[in-house]
């Protein structure tokens, strides 16, 4: 009995000794180490103009983007869910594709990283995205994409040509989705304490140019010397500011939805 109590006391003491890590309060921030590699990452921010916690979450995501490189991390603000439903003077940024991607989740803000988290029914809050983003940046880049845009001012017609190049030999079914994004839209947004009537909405998803699933790029074996070219076009809505519009293209694994690479190009 005494031996057992002694073992228990020893275990408790060990737990006391090893169970606490004290962080030096003068050294809480990690030094930033640039992530090697060439792969880019897409963060989808499922947000809403009437969602009070969304601006702070978007800010955190943009801080992460700034930290890791705006040429490596892209953010697509997808307005979807109850708090994105149009009401009064709040802007209507709803899209059919965004609603499908949101997949009946019940809150905002929610995030996915390279479309991994939401596709299997799980959701991430903004504090959870840094590690998946860093991990995704460290993955081997499997594809490269080059985007060319042509925009006609008079007809507001936008034509997009995308070239997809495998960086090595592989096998699988890959699709590409081409999105129209409008940046820096000023409008009403619920914020803590009320409404910001001049809130600047960043990277607002306006819809796809080739459907919610996009277009098939590769199916079966492919080789490093292969390439695929796709074209699509759209008439940009007259209410959109074409000077602030971008084309965002990503290629993804059709079987599990995971995005392999993303690029973004200005419309003009």
């Amino acid at each position: 009995m005494k031996r057992l109590s002694l073992i228990f006391a020893t275990a408790a003491l060990l737990l006391f000794a090893m169970g606490c890590d004290k962080i030096d309060i003068n050294n809480t921030h990690k030094p930033f180490e640039p992530v090697a590699g060439l792969k880019t990452v897409l963060i989808k921010d499922f947000t809403g103009a009437r969602c009070v916690n969304c601006p702070a979450a978007a800010e955190t995501a943009h801080e992460l983007q700034h930290l890791l490189g705006e040429d490596r991390v892209f953010i697509l603000s997808v307005h979807a869910g109850f708090l994105a439903q149009p009401m009064g003077n709040f802007p209507d940024f709803l899209t059919e594709e965004g609603t499908i991607w949101y997949n009946n989740h019940d809150s905002n803000p929610l995030f996915s990283v390279d479309q991994v988290a939401l596709t299997d029914g799980n959701t991430l809050n903004v504090e959870q995205i840094d590690a998946p983003v860093a991990a995704a940046l460290n993955e081997v880049q499997l594809f490269d994409i080059t985007t060319y845009t042509t925009y006609d001012e008079a007809s507001r017609q936008l034509s997009v040509e995308n070239h997809f190049y495998p960086t090595g030999d592989g096998n699988g079914k890959y699709y590409a989705t081409v999105c129209l994004v409008e940046d820096s839209i000023v409008g009403w947004q619920t914020v803590p304490g009320g409404v910001d009537k001049e809130y600047v909405f960043r990277n607002v998803f306006r819809g796809t140019l080739n459907g919610v699933d996009g277009q098939q790029v590769f199916n079966g074996p492919f080789y490093v010397e292969d390439s695929f070219t796709s074209t699509c076009s759209i008439e940009i809505d007259s209410t959109y500011n074409a000077d602030q519009c971008y084309v965002l293209t990503y290629i993804y694994d059709y079987d599990n939805g995971k995005i392999m690479h993303t690029v973004m190009e200005k419309v003009k």
């Binding site: 057992l4 228990f8 408790a12 169970g19 916690n53 590690a131 409404v195």
Partner: protein, 579 residues
């Protein structure tokens, strides 16, 4: 000859095995329960449900079976959310074996493997539990040892990983370690009255306890150095003398930057004390609590009601009637100062006010304020709650002017004669809806609430029950000026009336109709009726309940933990049974 011996031996063994198997089975006890809740959703433009978003049906169900045989017990729990009902976390969607356990306990040592539900003291540093109505289960999958080396002394150790919906538990399974760490804990309790023979029957009672719990989670942050081992300790004492009882528990937690506390490195502290007195016909309890940065989760990025290692008990009155429970307090783990006084008195039978059956009176007052936070110096600047900093300092006994909640209520419960029974309650409520429910900028709810609950026994088998309730807000009601853009924040605000009539035929049937009417909402389109009709049938331990109608938006809270329930319209079926 050898064959005969073998045959006899085999026969003897068979008889012996059958006898022991029979004895084994005779000592066995099997118990369990099953429940299915299903909701069929319908569009209802009248209350703003114009789109069901493809979800017409939600079903939550579970079945659990426990087996006990002497010192051994084991159990399994199966759950199905196909899909989950509205208002429950979407991560619940799925079906499978949620929990299992096996325990052997001979009085000296007890060992459990599997999913563990347990609590150290009042739970300030460790409590795992399951609450079906919240869709919450933070059980610990691992092992527990309970040791009783001497009379009145109990030592406990637990080790494992908490349940997180249907996520895998093992690190070799993808992503397990990314979502939560490992929890280790020890607890010791010493009951002096049991340990010391001379104190066995003493009027003075005393027990002491102490706990230490640590979580280990990998630092995955890109921004901050996250402590991979976070420890929390608590000490407690329970005293009693005659009709008096006093208990207190103090808890301390080392730096634990997390999404909940905005990644600050301040230590956490909490204290919970209770003083009570009781005698026949009279009882009083005074409780006080202080909580400062005491959210303790096994996942530092978690923000919702999951993966809590500890539990901060609420010290507020639990209302059960519809309108009084509309604004239920939700514990604020980042900081709160709370106090509660509950007094119960029964006016004796045979007196002028007590009548033939006596009259029960109850008074309760509880209030919760914020703690005071002072800024700290970081890089030559004064900052408060800044991520990566100490956060703030807080004087232990200082109370902020920011009041979160106050509930003053008085209740009379009176059996008038053998046919009539009346309960009435008045509540004065203050509810900071901005802090508690996150409705930014919404005005505080200050309301007077009252209800009358009358039961009339028609005969030995039949009875009628009538509930009349009213909620009147002081400021927000018809005519209140609001900004169009903030209309959504007024969805359940203003004055309410509620009536329910229930007809019961014991022991099986019950029928009720009810209407909840938000007649005084400042927004005209929200002045809705939420009517429901319910039929329930009870047969021994089986209960079937079918209800149809509307459900208003609100929160469901159990033990200070809440979930939001969206407005809905449709049919609800609940079937439960136990054996």
């Amino acid at each position: 000859m050898r064959k005969h011996i073998l045959f006899v031996l085999a026969l003897a063994l068979t008889v012996s095995f059958r006898a022991s198997a029979q004895s084994f089975l005779e000592n066995s006890q099997v118990s369990g329960s099953f429940q299915t809740d299903a909701q069929y959703y319908m569009r209802d433009n009248g209350i703003g449900i114009n789109d069901l978003y493809g979800k017409k049906l939600g079903i939550n169900g579970f079945g659990k079976v426990n087996y006990t045989n002497g010192n051994f017990s084991a159990g399994v729990r199966f759950e199905a959310f196909l899909p989950e009902m509205n208002g429950f976390r979407s991560e619940l969607n799925g079906v499978g074996l949620a929990n299992f356990f096996a325990t052997y306990d001979n009085g000296f040592i007890g060992m459990t493997v599997g999913d563990i539900y347990d609590q150290f003291g009042s739970g300030l540093v460790f409590r795992t539990y399951e609450e079906w109505s919240l869709g919450m289960d933070n059980s610990l999958r691992g092992a527990r040892v309970v040791l009783r080396p001497a009379q009145g002394v109990t030592l406990k150790g637990v080790y494992g990983r908490q349940r997180f919906f249907w996520y895998p538990y093992l690190e070799r399974d993808m992503g397990a370690e990314e979502y939560r760490g490992i929890v280790r804990g020890v607890d010791a309790e010493w009951d002096l009255n049991q340990s010391i023979p001379s104190m066995n029957d003493a009027k003075f009672k005393m027990s002491l306890g102490g706990s230490f719990v640590s979580k280990k989670q990998e630092d995955l942050s890109l921004f901050y150095y996250i402590p991979e081992n976070v420890g929390a300790a608590a000490t407690r004492i329970n005293l009693g003398y005659g009709n008096w009882a006093f208990s207190t528990e103090y808890a301390y937690k080392i730096n634990d930057p997390s999404a909940i506390n905005n990644f600050i490195y301040k230590e956490g502290r909490a204290i919970l004390s209770s003083l009570s007195y009781s005698q026949k016909g009279f009882g009083a309890v005074l409780q006080v609590k202080r909580v400062d940065n005491m959210s303790f989760k096994s996942m530092y990025t978690g923000k919702q009601n999951d993966l809590d290692i500890n539990f901060i008990p609420p010290i507020n009155y639990t209302h059960t009637h519809s309108l009084p429970s509309m604004y239920t307090y939700s514990t604020q783990p980042n900081g709160e100062m709370a106090a509660q006084l509950q007094v119960n008195y029964t006016i004796p039978k045979g007196t002028a006010l007590g009548g033939k059956y006596g009259t029960k009176l109850a008074f309760n007052m509880s209030q919760v304020n914020d703690i005071v936070r002072d800024s700290v110096m970081e890089n030559g600047h004064m900052v408060i709650n800044k991520p990566g900093s100490l956060g703030y300092t807080s004087k232990f006994f200082a109370i902020s002017d920011h009041r979160f909640f106050r509930d003053i209520n008085f209740e009379i419960d009176k059996k008038i004669n053998k046919d009539w029974h009346v309960t009435a309650q008045y509540i004065n409520l203050y509810y900071d809806i901005e802090t508690i429910e996150g409705h930014a900028g919404a005005p505080v709810v200050q309301a007077n609430i009252g209800f009358l609950d009358v039961t009339y026994k028609i005969n030995k088998k039949q009875s009628l029950r009538l509930e009349l309730q009213g909620l009147w807000e002081n400021e927000v009601h018809k005519g209140y000026e609001y900004e169009e853009s903030e209309k959504k924040d007024y969805q359940k605000r203003g004055d309410w009336a509620f009536a329910l009539l229930e007809y019961t035929i014991t022991p099986h049937w019950s029928f009720s109709i009810a209407d909840k009417w938000n007649y005084g909402n400042p927004v005209e389109e929200y002045r809705d009726h939420y009517f429901t009709g319910t039929i329930s049938y009870i047969h021994e331990a089986t209960r079937v309940m079918l209800s149809a109608g509307r459900q208003s938006e609100g929160v469901v809270c159990v033990g200070g933990v809440c979930r939001t329930v969206p407005a809905s319209s449709g049919v609800t079926l609940t079937v439960s049974t136990s054996f």
